[in-house]
């Protein structure tokens, strides 16, 4: 397991290509079947996880939190933020877009906004991300993604807090987090 501290990383995968791959690698029957087979194998699973680690470390500076947010952050890893913020930038971003802690590096959220906006995906950044599960560090998020275990990482729509009662959409429970705070007035 990685113990490297978080440092903002500039993604090496172009934005357009990243979104194209997202469409190709979306969870579907074939990938669900394949990922189940990989998970079942004591030999292949660690090999697969190591490959993912190497690939995503090279491309995104991945630290293997096991709960990948990249699809809705313009493919800039928020776990590279020194504060590991998953819901947007802190208030300390420099006037030039530099990180508060590493001023020579760009804030991951400034970069995420630019990349997402360049592909018409700025609205992704409005989605609320739930607190992560720290027991999942080191897991393969690709397997988690294809197995549908990542579906509760962020709310379905902007303004939605992941509560099943928010939208009146009773069919959307599979997205609802297991520890869901609810929208409530006061």
């Amino acid at each position: 397991m990685t113990t490297r501290p978080p440092i903002p990383a500039h993604p090496r995968l172009g934005t357009r290509l990243a979104y194209r791959l997202q469409r190709v690698l979306r969870p579907r029957a074939g990938l669900r079947w394949l990922s189940a087979r990989i998970e079942a194998s004591g030999l292949v699973r660690p090999l697969f996880t190591s490959t993912e680690r190497l690939t995503k470390d090279t491309l995104f500076g991945c630290r293997m939190c096991g709960q990948c947010a990249l699809p809705v952050t313009g493919y800039v890893c928020p776990m590279g933020c020194p504060k590991e913020l998953r819901n947007g930038p802190c208030g300390g971003v420099g006037a030039d877009g530099g990180c508060e802690v590493y001023p020579e590096r760009r804030c991951v959220w400034v970069e995420a906004f630019e990349r997402a906006a360049s592909q018409g995906r700025a609205a992704d950044l409005r989605l609320l991300h739930l607190p992560i599960d720290h027991r999942r560090w080191g897991e393969s998020s690709w397997l988690n993604y294809w197995q549908g275990r990542d579906e509760d990482l962020w709310a379905r729509e902007a303004g939605d807090t992941g509560d099943a009662g928010d939208t009146g959409d009773t069919g959307g429970d599979r997205h609802a987090p297991h520890h869901q705070p609810a929208l409530g007035g006061s």
Binding site: N87, G91, V93, G97, C107, W109, A122, L128, P181, A182
Partner: protein, 308 residues
Amino acid sequence: MSLRDRLRAGSFAVTAEISPPRGASTDPVTATAALLRDWVDAVNVTDNQGSNVRLASWAGSLAALHAGLEPVMQMTCRDRNRIALQSDLLGASALGIRNILVMTGDHPKFGDHPEAKPVFDLDSVQLLWTLRHMRDQGAVLTGRALKPPPDCFLGAVENPSAPPAEFRAERLGKKIAAGAQFVQTQFVFDVAAFAQWMTQVRDLGLHEQCYILPGVGAVRSRNALDYMRDKVPGVYVPDDVYRRLRAVPADQTAAEGARLAAETIQQLNAIEGVAGVHLLVAGNEQAVPGILDSAEIWAGVRAERHGR
């Protein structure tokens, strides 16, 4: 009248920030609270501000409460995990501390323990969401019931001038969706930039879902001005403001800084959707009466409060 009630009533609210002492005494908080009691509606008590160890925010808040001034307890995500943060809300509520201001917190790198482990188990949006869940659902994050649940008025912070500018109003919207009922901002020295942000805020209708209190600071010396411009993360001092404060003799910087603050309050009050101001005067609390007295709107606000 409580801060919550004043904001709900639509009258101009004034809050100020104080920092608890580096030491095991609440006397300095009590003294400051006595000074500010007749001037502000509530006082923010910082949470190890700038990542420097100080008396706990809850203890400072309790001292202010006992001195007759309503506290706003600041809570950062830097030093405590989700267990400790939830526990702190229960403790605060039980002691009568109702206003909670949630923020990410400065990184330990900037404080007196740069070697400390940064926690950041939750981010500020997730913490707001957690606290609202505890209050409204009467349960901890994982579902265990709270008897009784806490009562709280939840606040957030925002920095309208930090990049990415196009996302800053949206980010406030995220915090409101997560539970924020009021927001206090970072220093506003650039009123035009703030007004621009407020336009985005109004376009999203956020000023109707949350009370907005821009931060106003009083620069008290040339050193403080340079420090603020060059060293404090997220604070932007425009060139014209900098030149204006440098143009007066050094012994008049504080007076000019107070004048600038009073003018800023006046300009902010004219912006639609502004519910009050937050005075960022930690360490310089004695400047508050002077600033408010020279803000033109103050006479009206004061008259309204004291029933004329």
